[in-house]
Symmetry: C2
């Protein structure tokens, strides 16, 4: 007998987001299996290539990881000659993170692999909906990101 769950709680936004996110991450783990740090390695490399990473801490917060974890991730990526740490002349405590030439070249093929994964993820939607979905995700994420404290009501200064 097939022990299907039938209709359990598929109308739950949390279940939907969780299912999408888990599958997306699992697919990215396969796709970026040869990259130090996996999917997070890609995000780090992408950010480094943009030339806008003023410090490890800022990057860590943007990615939602601890600064100590960022140290380990950057160690691995530096060993793989994908990124470099450069002391910020304005603040010699901080390290600017930049992509090496090799890192930038690597990024090109990684991006095309990412495009494939995202195309498969969004395949059930028609083209206009795909664009709407991306727009909505960006809007929601940007608003949340700018709040720092996730989903906290205004005036609530408590940490997570």
């Amino acid at each position: 007998m097939d022990a299907t769950c039938g209709e359990l709680f598929s109308d739950d936004l949390g279940w939907g987001l969780g299912t999408i996110f888990r599958s997306y991450v699992a697919a990215l783990n396969e796709t970026f299996i040869d990259l130090p740090g996996g999917p997070r390695g890609f995000q780090i490399l992408s950010a480094a290539a943009s030339g806008n990473v003023s410090s490890q801490l800022a990057l860590a917060q943007h990615l939602g990881v601890d600064r100590t974890v960022m140290t380990y991730l950057l160690d691995d990526m530096q060993r793989a000659h994908l990124i470099e740490r450069r002391p910020d002349p304005q603040d010699r405590r901080a390290r600017r993170i930049v992509a090496t030439r090799e890192g930038e070249e690597r990024l090109l093929t990684l991006r095309s692999r990412l495009d494939d994964v995202e195309a498969r993820l969004l395949a059930p939607l028609d083209e206009p909906d795909r664009e709407s979905f991306r727009k909505m995700v960006q809007l929601l994420a940007t608003r949340i990101d700018s709040l720092q404290i996730p989903l906290a009501p205004c005036g609530d200064g408590s940490a997570i």
Copy 2:
């Protein structure tokens, strides 16, 4: 100096999904702080109350957790008198998971708290977009869930 990241890679779907998901989970962890298992405890309770949980394994797969983890979660929820394990008469290896009376009552208040969190999450969208977003999330999650192997191309039988 404010070490802002400016525009790093906010056009990345992965970053958007990750940011939304992390914030959503963090908010749910606060909201369900007093519930065994936190957000997953809620999902288990919600499924149990639906009366459609034919086995612990089916529930575990639906939630994307290992069956051993499900054992621990159910232990905690049973100790809190929220759910019961009932041997399935059709297959005495399996346990049907049902909510107790206390669990069903608890679920009512938990649902209203969840509604508050989701309302805050989706606040940046106008009402029609909120409904569209929910619909798209459900569609994508359902399609992925039915594939079992996340985002695998057709004909690829390899496990994750």
